[in-house]
Structure formats: C-alpha cells, structure tokens
Amino acid sequence: MGCIEEMNYEILLKNTSFKECREFVESNFKEIYKVKPGYKMFDVYLIGVPPVVIGIDGDHVVFPYTKPCYGTFLLRVRGEEEIASLRVGGGI
C-alpha cells in the first residue's frame, strides 16, 4: 500500500479508530458512500469494519487508511476517478 503514502494527502484524523473515522465522515460530509472492506481505491484495498464510510468533499475523497502499528488515519485525497466510481457503483 505504498501508493497512497506517495500521494499528496491531508490527514484529518490520526492514530484513531475505524469507528471514530466512520462517525467523523458521517457527521461532516453530506455526500457519503458505504463500501465493504476490501473496496479498491487508488490501487489499494481499504481495511476496515463494515460499513467503511467514504466522504466526498468537492473533488477530494475522505476515507480511512489503517496501518497495523499506528491505527487508522482519515485521509483526504484528490480523486476525481474514485469519486466517479463511487457515484456509479453507489457503494454497498
């Protein structure tokens, strides 16, 4: 999953839990999509407890990114293609 780490991302929450990330996205973004763990985005497979909630913020996606030793981060990354895929697929 080195791909995301090489991207230009903003950390909205760090060293947090999947539950806090889910609540933050649901509380702060109007357009959200719920996907299953293992959903592919930016060439990585999202790790999490279902439903994994992804927010849309303009042309950026907001999603949880989990590392075994550091917990879950909530990232904001520009991704027009990912947004289009979410809108077409509609999530779970």
Binding site: M1, G2, S17, F18, K36, P37, G38, K40, V44, Y45, L46, I47, G48, V49, P50, T66, K67, P68, C69, Y70, G71, T72
Partner: protein, 148 residues
C-alpha cells in the same frame, strides 16, 4: 476442529512479545496436522519470525501483509482457515476485512491488556482465542491447545 489443508496466520503490529512466539507455536502445531501454513505480517513482524526461526523449521511460507490482502482480494490466494492476531483496533479492522474478502474458517487470536474489550468488539461470528497477556505466551498457548 475440521481438517484444514492450508492456513493463513495474519500478524498484527509486533510490539507485544507474545505474538512471534505464539505464531511459531501455532505454525508448528498446524504443520504437524498436515496444514500448509503461510504467515503474513508487516516487515518488522516477518523479520522477527525470520530471526526467530532461521532454519525455517516452523515458518516455511511468509508474505508481506499488504501483498497478502491484495492477493486475497484479487482471488490469487485462498485459504481454508485464517488466524488473525489482534491486540489493537487495527487488528479488528484487519479481521473484518479478511471476513469480507476470504471465505475461510476464521479465528481471532486476541491478546494484550485490552483483550476482553477487543474481543467484545468483534461483531460477527468467528472463533475466538482470547487471553489477557502481553509478555507470557503460556495463557494463549493453553487456549490454543484447547481448540486445536
């Protein structure tokens, strides 16, 4: 326990000492039952296994954790059973992800100071091997011996 042909041991962050010892113990125990074992983990977790078992007597197959998730999601790897090592919130996330992408007999090995809280946070059916221990592997070993 049903007869298993191949098993994945999915390790978490190696900060708690019991993980490496229990992983090697479980790998050996499964291998003696003719189970083909693969161990997945972070670079540090895998390096701990490699240094602890330099002759590869117990850990015969190892793979990077992210690569393993990718291979399972893309149906390039499959396992009859999976044991996920959990001692933090991230471990629960990995367990739920495996449950979502792999159709296998799933067991959570939960340990560390928050073992009981973490175990109760598992919201779906799976085997649970739980011991509140971080340094001493014996409580976890005893629980494993009860089910395998």
């Amino acid at each position: 326990m049903n007869r298993l042909n191949n098993a994945l041991l999915l390790l978490g962050c190696p900060e708690l000492p019991v993980q490496t010892g229990i992983a090697l113990y479980l790998a050996n125990k499964l291998a003696k039952n003719d189970v083909d074992v693969t161990i997945a983990g972070t670079r540090s977790a895998i390096n701990l296994i490699k240094v602890s078992d330099p002759e590869r007597n117990y850990a015969k197959k190892m793979i990077d954790l992210d690569r393993c998730i990718e291979n399972i999601a893309e149906k390039q790897m499959d396992f009859d059973s999976c044991f996920v090592f959990i001692h933090n919130d991230a471990g629960i996330s990995y367990l739920a992800t495996i449950q979502s992408i792999l159709n296998a007999n799933l067991s959570a090995i939960v340990f560390g100071g928050d073992a009981e809280t973490l175990s109760s946070a598992i919201e779906f059916e799976c085997g649970k091997i739980v011991a509140k221990t971080a340094h001493n592997p014996i409580p976890l070993k005893k629980k494993i011996d009860e089910v395998i």
